[in-house]
Amino acid sequence: MSLPDGLRNTSQAKNWVDSLPLSYKYSAGVSGQRFAEGLKQGKILGSKCSKCGETFLPPSLYCPNCFVYSSEYVEIPPYGEIYSFAEADGKAIALIRFQGVTGGLIHVVKRPSAGKLKIGLRVSAVFRPAEQRKGDLTDIEFFEIRPHT
């Protein structure tokens, strides 16, 4: 096998340095707007499909299974369960699932002062005080472990 005889000392390679500065302003979307309004009021909103009855979180304009418009937005009680979690840099992020709901939320979980985080622990959402809420995911400050679980 003979390799092409390229430049052996790549430190000599001529290069050009340029930057492509781009920034973005993303639309919340129809269902995203409702979700954001809900958070601002201290509520977690999901969407419900009238055809299959499934409830989705985050809410969706349409049911991805039936491919029809969602019929309503429903309030989901802020009590979930840790489905799995990741820990690094002193922080823990978990996928939190809610009973009877398809999907879930990825959010920060506050570590318990005693004991460890575990899959299956029951958690509840802690909202920021109303005057601090901005209508985005950080309106939930974190999820905390519910006592006696």
Binding site: W16, D18, L20, L22, S23, Y24, K25, Y26, S27, A28, G29, V30, S31, G32, Q33, S60, L61, Y62, P64, N65, C66, F67, V68, Y69
Partner: protein, 385 residues
């Protein structure tokens, strides 16, 4: 090869900025197309999505991001991409599947959400230029169009007034389109006096940037005959790509489009397109491009398109209506969705469902065309009753 029919079409509003996310727009257009076809998502065998550069939506791997909005979850699903030519290429990629027998029903979706990118969607195009040969010059996409437009004007001695007539016609046609973003009654003078962007290209020579989606449903002959009395057949498809580098292309005549069109004409058994095509939706992101493309499609002789436009031949009540929808100049230009809007318009026109936009003469055969990649690809679809 099996016959392939279009059995339904749908689209969203075209707007500078929509509240809907890309997924939501894809869903709305798809749902409308399925409803017109009387089909459900479970009937769909396969989904083909078209969307232009990821940099607009600001979500990398946009095909995957848009998947559930396009109804593609747990189905054979592909995203195809030939830049601005994508909108007319998506139905071609879907046609392969039905013509070959791989699928009986294919949902075809074009989506574009250009508004997220700041300060302007145009900035996405910085990264298309060769970092060594072009970027140091600080050129933008509009410089390429300026070179083309000036060369076209020079070779055929075409005036700015003649070119402006296209913008006047298309924006006026768009007044009758319920989804249109830039419909208006303007004059040639308005175009000439609009702000020069990169002369001879002026503000009103250019289509807007837009958010939007459009969709159609393709079906095999068996299925089409079962679900509709009024199928529209895809009888010819063609596509062709020229050199990527500007210096190696004829800036006055789109040879790649002639080749793409001839491929489609051969398939549709058309020998004299000017006589045999009843109307056409040709790609018009700029007014001069409509003229350019009419000539590449051989709907006009070289240099003749401005004359046909001046004589009213290309008006909705003319002998060869061009862009009765209002085109990209009037309806808007959410890139992949804009090409799909043209496919939908040909479908609605052939079915007599175009409402106030319906062309005056009876129509049996129409053509939709788009242009893109790096200003080098032609994509063509011919449809018939």
């Amino acid at each position: 090869m099996r016959r392939v029919a279009v059995v339904g079409a749908g689209m969203t509003l075209f707007r500078h900025r929509m509240l809907e996310t890309g997924k939501e727009m894809a869903f709305e257009a798809s749902r409308m197309a399925l409803d017109q076809a009387g089909l459900d998502i479970k009937d769909v065998d396969s989904v083909v999505l078209g969307s232009a550069p990821d940099a607009f939506d600001g979500v990398h791997m946009k095909g995957e991001y848009l998947l559930d909005g396009a109804g593609g979850t747990r189905k054979p699903y592909t995203r195809v991409f030939v830049g601005g030519g994508t909108g007319v290429f998506v139905p071609i990629a879907a046609w392969w599947q039905v013509a070959s027998g791989v699928a009986d029903i294919v949902l075809v979706v074009g989506e574009e959400k250009m508004s997220p990118l700041l300060p302007h969607p145009q900035y996405a195009f910085w990264s298309i230029f060769d970092p060594i040969l072009e970027r140091p010059l600080g050129v933008t996409l509009l410089w390429i169009f300026s070179l083309e437009m000036r060369r076209y004007m020079h070779v055929y001695n075409v005036s700015e007034e003649d070119i402006a007539l296209v913008a006047v016609k298309n924006k006026r046609n768009a007044l009758d389109h319920p989804a249109a973003q830039l419909a208006a009654n303007i004059t040639v003078d308005d175009v000439l006096k609009s702000e020069p962007i990169c002369w001879p290209v002026k503000r009103l020579d250019v289509s807007p940037t837009s958010d939007g989606a459009a969709a159609v449903v393709l079906a095999s002959e068996d299925v089409a005959r079962r679900i509709t009395d009024d199928p529209v057949w895809i009888t010819g498809v063609g596509w062709n790509v020229d050199s990527t580098y500007w210096t190696n292309r004829d800036l006055c005549y789109p040879e790649y489009l002639e080749k793409a069109a001839n491929m489609a004409y051969r398939m549709a058994h058309i020998s004299d397109p000017k006589k045999e095509i009843d109307f056409a939706e040709v790609y018009d992101p700029f007014d001069y491009k409509e003229l350019h493309h009419m000539e590449g499609l051989q709907l006009a002789r070289r240099g003749e398109a401005p004359k046909l436009t001046r004589e009213g031949v290309t008006q909705r009540d003319g002998d060869l209506p061009i862009n009765p929808s209002g085109g990209l100049l009037g309806v808007g230009n959410p890139i992949a969705a804009a090409g799909m809007m043209k496919i939908a318009e040909v479908f609605w026109q052939l079915r007599g469902e175009a409402g106030k936009r319906q062309v005056k003469k009876p129509v049996r055969r129409g053509l939709a065309q788009a242009w893109g990649d790096l200003m080098q690809v032609g994509t063509v679809v011919i449809m018939e009753r």
